[in-house]
C-alpha cells in the first residue's frame, strides 16, 4: 500500500475506495513508525495535515476533484509555507516562519494537494549527501548506514520509503536527480524558467529549479503539470515557450525511432562498474525497444564541476547575505557592536559547508579575481550550453548515469569536499545549460539503486517523459521496495 503510485491513489480516491483523510493517516502512521530512524521529515504537524485532508474530502464531495485532490505531497524544507516552519535545515533559520507561500505551494494548494510536512535536506541545499543538514543526516531506506543523496535527500527518502507518495525537491546541481537515483525513485528537474522560483529560498538563482520526486514517471508528469507555468512575479519565469501536454507525453511513451545520445564523457574511468553496467544495459534495452543509440561528445563536461563551483557559490554568497541577524532568523546573544553581531550571527548560524561556499563565492567575486574566476566560469558555461545545442542537432535525448556511484556511507566523504563535489559530476552540466533532466531507477548494485539520467533540449520535457515512460513500462524496478520492517 505505501508504495502505491500517486496516479493510482488518485484513481482510488476518485472511485471512493479511500478518503484523503484515510490515505493521509496511512502515511502519517508510516512517518510515525519510520521517521525516527530515517530522519526524512524535519517538521510536520499531524493535526494541520489531517485538517487539509478533511478539507479536500469536503471539497471533492461538493465540487469534484482538482488535479491533485487529496494527495499528500511532502515538501522540501526550502519552500516557504505560510503554516509551519521553513528552516532550510539551517540553524540560522531555526524557528523561522515564512510570511507567505511559495508560488508552487500555492499551485499545490489550488490543485487540492495535502501539504505533507517538511523534508530534510542539506543546509541551504548545499551538499550531495544530506549530511550538512542542521537537523542531522537523513538516511537511505535501502541501507540506513548510507546517505540518501542530496540536497533533496529527505524528499527522496520519504518517497522511496513509502512515507509519502510524492515530494517536491529543488535541483541546483543535481539535488533532485542524484538523491532520486540513490534512493531508487523518479526525479524531474524542469527547464530553467519553467517553474517559478518565488518563495523558494535561493541558493544559486541562475541554477535553482523546483521539480517533482515521485515513484513513477507518470506521477512525475502529473505533479509537473501542476508545478509548471509562468509566474509574472518571477522575472526569470518564462511565458512564451512551448507548453507540454503532460498526459500525452507519458501515455504514448515510446522509444521507437528515438535517437538517444550516449556521451563518451559520461562513461569514465573511476565510475562504479556496477553503475556503468546498469546504465549500459538500460541503453541496450532502449535499443531493443526501437531507439537508435548515437555516440556523441560533450567536450566541456570535464569543466562543469569547476564552473559550477565558481558560479553557484558566487550567487550564494550574495543570496545568503540577508541572514545577518537584523530582521529575522538567528541572532547571536549579546552582540558587542554591529560587526560582532554580523560575524557571530553568521559564524554560529551557518554550518561549515555553507561557510565554505560563501567564502569561495566571496573570493571569486572579489576585485582582481572576478575576471579569472566568475567571468571565466560564465564563458565556460556558454561553451557547455553550446555542447548540448550541438549534440541535440544529432539526437533527440541524451542518456547518462545520474551518479557515478551508488549511495555511499554516512561520513565517508564529509572530510573531503572535492570528492563530495564530484558526486554531482553527471548532473551539474544540465543546470549550467538550463536543460530539463530526469532520473529514474535502472537497476541495483549490491542492493543499492542506480539511476538513469535523461537530458532533453530546453522546453522538451515531453521527450524526457516519453522516453522514461517507455523504459519504465519495459522494466519492473518500481516493484522493488526497501525492507523497513526490521528497523522499525
Amino acid at each position: 500500500m505505501p508504495f502505491t503510485s500517486l496516479c493510482e491513489w488518485s484513481q482510488r480516491l476518485a472511485a471512493g475506495e479511500i478518503s484523503s483523510v484515510e490515505l493521509t493517516r496511512l502515511y502519517l502512521e508510516r512517518v510515525a513508525r519510520f521517521n525516527g530512524r530515517l530522519n526524512a521529515f524535519v517538521h510536520y504537524d499531524e493535526a494541520a495535515i489531517l485538517e487539509q485532508a478533511a478539507a479536500s474530502d469536503a471539497y471533492r464531495a461538493k465540487h469534484g476533484a482538482r488535479p491533485l485532490e487529496g494527495l499528500p505531497v511532502a515538501i522540501k524544507d526550502i519552500f516557504c509555507t505560510r503554516e509551519g516552519l521553513t528552516q532550510c535545515c539551517s540553524n540560522i533559520l531555526r524557528g523561522y516562519q515564512a510570511p507567505y507561500d511559495a508560488h508552487v505551494i500555492t499551485l499545490l494548494r489550488e490543485a487540492g494537494a495535502v501539504l505533507f510536512g517538511k523534508t530534510n535536506m542539506d543546509e541551504f541545499a548545499m551538499g550531495s549527501s544530506n549530511e550538512t543538514s542542521a537537523f542531522g543526516p537523513c538516511r537511505n531506506p535501502w541501507d540506513i548506514e548510507r546517505i540518501p543523496g542530496g540536497s533533496s535527500g529527505g524528499s527522496a527518502c520519504a518517497v522511496a520509503a513509502g512515507l509519502a507518495p510524492a515530494a517536491l525537491g529543488t535541483d541546483t546541481g543535481g539535488s533532485i536527480r542524484q538523491p532520486a537515483a540513490l534512493c531508487g525513485i523518479t526525479g524531474l528537474k524542469p527547464t530553467y524558467g519553467r517553474v517559478s522560483r518565488r518563495g523558494i529560498i535561493a541558493f544559486a538563482s541562475s541554477l535553482d529549479q523546483a521539480g517533482p520526486m515521485t515513484r513513477s514517471v507518470r506521477d512525475a508528469s502529473l505533479l509537473a503539470s501542476v508545478l509548471c507555468g509562468h509566474d509574472p512575479a518571477d522575472a526569470t519565469s518564462v511565458s512564451n515557450v512551448p507548453q507540454i501536454d503532460w498526459k500525452k507525453a507519458v501515455e504514448y511513451g515510446d522509444l521507437k525511432g528515438m535517437r538517444i545520445g550516449r556521451p563518451q564523457e559520461y562513461f569514465i574511468e573511476g565510475m562504479d562498474d556496477g553503475v556503468r553496467g546498469c546504465v549500459e544495459k538500460a541503453l541496450e534495452l532502449c535499443e531493443e525497444l526501437g531507439a537508435q543509440i548515437v555516440d556523441i561528445s560533450l567536450p566541456h563536461t570535464e569543466a562543469a564541476v569547476a564552473t559550477y563551483y565558481v558560479i553557484a557559490p558566487s550567487e550564494a554568497s550574495a543570496n545568503l547575505a540577508r541572514y545577518d541577524g537584523v530582521r529575522f532568523g538567528y541572532r547571536c546573544d549579546d552582540p558587542k557592536d554591529l560587526l560582532d553581531m554580523y560575524t557571530r550571527t553568521r559564524d554560529e548560524g551557518f554550518g561549515p559547508e555553507v561557510k565554505r561556499r560563501i567564502l569561495t563565492g566571496t573570493f571569486a567575486l572579489s576585485s582582481g579575481y572576478y575576471d579569472a574566476y566568475y567571468l571565466k566560469a560564465q564563458k565556460v558555461r556558454t561553451l557547455i550550453r553550446q555542447d548540448f545545442l550541438r549534440a541535440f542537432e544529432q539526437v533527440d535525448v541524451i542518456a547518462t548515469p545520474t551518479s557515478p556511484v551508488t549511495a555511499f556511507r554516512i561520513g565517508e566523504k564529509t572530510d573531503d569536499p572535492l570528492t563530495m563535489y564530484l558526486s554531482d559530476v553527471f548532473t551539474i552540466a544540465v543546470n549550467l545549460a538550463g536543460l530539463p533532466g530526469l532520473s529514474q531507477p535502472c537497476g541495483f548494485v549490491d542492493g543499492l539503486p542506480v539511476g538513469l539520467q535523461w537530458i532533453a533540449p530546453a522546453w522538451r520535457e515531453d521527450r524526457l517523459l516519453s522516453a522514461a515512460a517507455a523504459y519504465e513500462g519495459a522494466t519492473d524496478w518500481l516493484s522493488r521496495t526497501p525492507e523497513l520492517e526490521a528497523m522499525a
Partner: protein, 476 residues
C-alpha cells in the same frame, strides 16, 4: 602659478514612480516607519524582484533629454555590502551596462554656456534609513525607502569651480522636475549629490581626487567644494600629497573630514543580478518615450521671449519650474492683452510677496484667474497701478477677488471729467500764487498741481486724466 579645481558630480535622483523599483509598495513620503514594505523590499528569503517599467521609462526620458545614448540592452548587477538598512545584503544596481550613457547638459556660465558631459545614468534601488538620534544604545531601521528607484547621474570631471558645479546641479534639478521624473525635493533626500574634487596646475594631468559626501543643499555643495579645494591646495603647497579617500562634509563647521581611505573602500563584488534578465528595449519603445517628451526649460525660455515678448531675465525667472511657467501661461490666457504686464505682476509683485513669507507659487492664495482680474482693472483704468499693489496685498491676505476689494474699500479710480475738473478748480483756487507763476512760465510747477489733485482725490483720480485736464485748465 594658479590652481585649477576639477569637479565631477554623482547625483542620486529619486524617480517619482508610484511604486518601488522591484515591488508594488508605495513610495509616498512620510509614512509611519516600515508600513510601506513587503517581503520583497524587506529581503525575506525566497522573494524575487520584478522591474518597475515606469522607472525605466522615466530614466530613458531623462537620457533623451540630455541627448544621451539609450542602451537597448542593459543589465542589472548586484552591489554587495553589509549594512543594517540594506535588507538583502546587496543593492540591485547597474554596473557594467547602464541604461543611459554619453549625454550632456549645457549650463549657463557668465554670458555664455558650457557643456558638461554626463557619463552615464543607471537605475538602482535605494536602501532604507537607519535612525540613531535620540536612541540609547540601539538603532532603529525604517525600510519604507528600501527599494525606491533612483537614477544615479554621473558627470564627467568637466566643472572647474564650485559655482559651475552648483550651476550644473541647478540645471539638472530643474530638468528632472520639468520632465516630471523626480520631485527632486532636496530636504526629503530626493536629489542627493556626491562630489569628486581634485586640484591641478592648468594643463597638467588630473590630481588625486577625494569624494565628498553628505552635500544636501546647493549652499553646502558650494561650501564643501570650496573648502576641499583650498584644503588640497594648501596641502600640496605645504609639500604634502592628497590621499584618495571619501570625506564627509560637516555643515555645522563648514569643513570636510576623512570618512574612509582607499584601502578601507568597499569591494562591492559586482556581478550580474541572476534574478533579472537583461533589460531589453526596442527602438519603437524609445521613440514612444521620446514622443512624450515635454517642453524643456531652454525651449520654453526661448518661446516665452518670442511669443510673449519677455526680457530674457523675466523668461528665465518664469521658467524656473514647470509649475511657475504653467501658472504664468494660465495668467496670460486669462489676461491676454498684456503678457508683459502679466510677467511683471507675477515675477515681481506676487512672487516677491510670497517669498517674503517663505512660500512659492504652489502655495499662492491668489489664483491666476484672480490675479488676471486685478490686471484687468488696471487695464480698464478702474484703479491705478499703485492702488493695485495695495489691492494685491489685500487679496493675498483675504483670498478675495480684486473687484470685491476695490468695491468694499471704495478704491475705484475717479474718471469722471467734471468731478476731476471740480477738484482741479478747487486746487487752483487754493493756490493762486502758484497758478500765476505757472502761467508766467514756471512749468516745473505742473507736478505740484498733479500731486495736489491726487492728494485731494485720495489717490483715486486717474493720473492720466488729471494730467490732461490740468493742462487744459491751467492754460485757460
Amino acid at each position: 602659478m594658479s590652481w585649477e579645481v576639477v569637479i565631477g558630480l554623482e547625483v542620486h535622483v529619486q524617480v517619482n514612480t508610484k511604486t518601488k523599483a522591484f515591488c508594488g509598495c508605495s513610495t509616498a513620503f512620510g509614512a509611519e516607519p516600515n508600513t510601506q514594505t513587503c517581503p520583497v523590499c524587506l529581503g525575506m528569503p525566497g522573494q524575487l524582484p520584478v522591474l518597475n517599467m515606469e522607472a525605466v521609462t522615466k530614466t530613458v526620458l531623462t537620457g533623451l533629454a540630455i541627448d544621451a545614448t539609450i542602451n537597448l540592452e542593459s543589465r542589472f548587477d548586484r552591489k554587495n555590502y553589509f549594512y543594517p538598512d540594506l535588507p538583502k545584503g546587496y543593492q540591485i544596481s547597474q554596473f557594467a551596462i547602464p541604461l543611459v550613457e554619453h549625454g550632456h547638459l549645457d549650463i549657463p556660465v557668465g554670458d555664455g554656456e558650457k557643456r558638461i558631459g554626463i557619463t552615464r545614468i543607471h537605475l538602482e534601488e535605494d536602501a532604507g534609513k537607519s535612525l540613531h538620534e535620540g536612541l540609547e544604545g540601539v538603532s532603529h531601521i525604517d525600510l519604507n525607502r528600501s527599494g525606491i528607484p533612483l537614477m544615479e547621474i554621473v558627470s564627467e570631471p568637466d566643472m572647474r569651480s564650485a559655482d559651475e558645479a552648483v550651476a550644473y546641479l541647478k540645471q539638472l534639478h530643474q530638468l528632472v522636475r520639468f520632465l516630471d521624473v523626480s520631485d527632486a525635493d532636496m530636504e526629503k533626500g530626493q536629489f542627493r549629490c556626491d562630489a569628486n574634487v581634485s586640484v591641478r596646475r592648468p594643463g597638467e594631468p588630473f590630481g588625486t581626487r577625494t569624494e565628498l559626501k553628505n552635500l544636501n543643499s546647493f549652499r553646502f555643495i558650494k561650501q564643501a567644494i570650496e573648502y576641499e579645494a583650498m584644503r588640497q591646495i594648501e596641502l600640496i603647497e605645504d609639500g604634502g600629497q592628497v590621499v584618495q579617500e571619501t570625506r564627509l562634509f560637516d555643515s555645522s563647521k563648514g569643513v570636510t573630514r576623512s570618512m574612509r581611505s582607499k584601502e578601507e573602500a568597499h569591494d562591492y563584488r559586482y556581478f550580474p543580478e541572476p534574478d533579472l534578465p537583461p533589460l531589453r528595449l526596442d527602438r519603437e519603445q524609445v521613440e514612444q518615450i521620446r514622443r512624450g517628451m515635454p517642453e524643456l526649460p531652454g525651449q520654453m525660455r526661448r518661446r516665452f521671449e518670442q511669443e510673449y515678448g519677455l526680457s530674457s531675465y523675466d523668461a528665465e525667472v518664469l521658467t524656473q519650474t514647470r509649475e511657475l511657467a504653467a501658472w504664468y501661461e494660465s495668467l496670460v490666457a486669462a489676461h491676454p492683452a498684456d503678457p508683459k504686464r502679466c510677467a511683471n505682476w507675477l515675477a515681481n509683485e506676487l512672487l516677491g510677496r510670497l517669498k517674503e513669507s517663505g512660500r512659492d507659487i504652489a502655495d499662492s492664495p491668489v489664483s491666476a484667474q484672480q490675479l488676471a482680474g486685478l490686471l484687468d482693472r488696471i487695464a480698464d483704468n478702474t484703479i491705478s497701478g499703485k492702488i493695485a499693489k495695495d489691492v494685491l496685498d489685500a487679496m493675498i491676505e483675504s483670498g478675495q477677488d480684486a473687484d470685491a476689494i476695490i468695491e468694499e474699500r471704495g478704491l475705484k479710480q475717479l474718471t469722471d471729467t467734471s468731478a476731476i475738473d471740480d477738484m482741479i478748480r478747487d486746487v487752483m483756487a487754493a493756490n493762486p500764487e502758484q497758478v500765476a507763476q505757472y502761467r508766467a512760465g514756471k512749468e516745473k510747477l505742473f507736478g505740484f498741481f498733479v500731486g495736489q489733485v491726487m492728494k485731494a482725490s485720495r489717490g483715486k483720480a486717474n493720473p492720466a486724466m488729471v494730467n490732461e485736464r490740468l493742462k487744459v485748465l491751467l492754460r485757460e
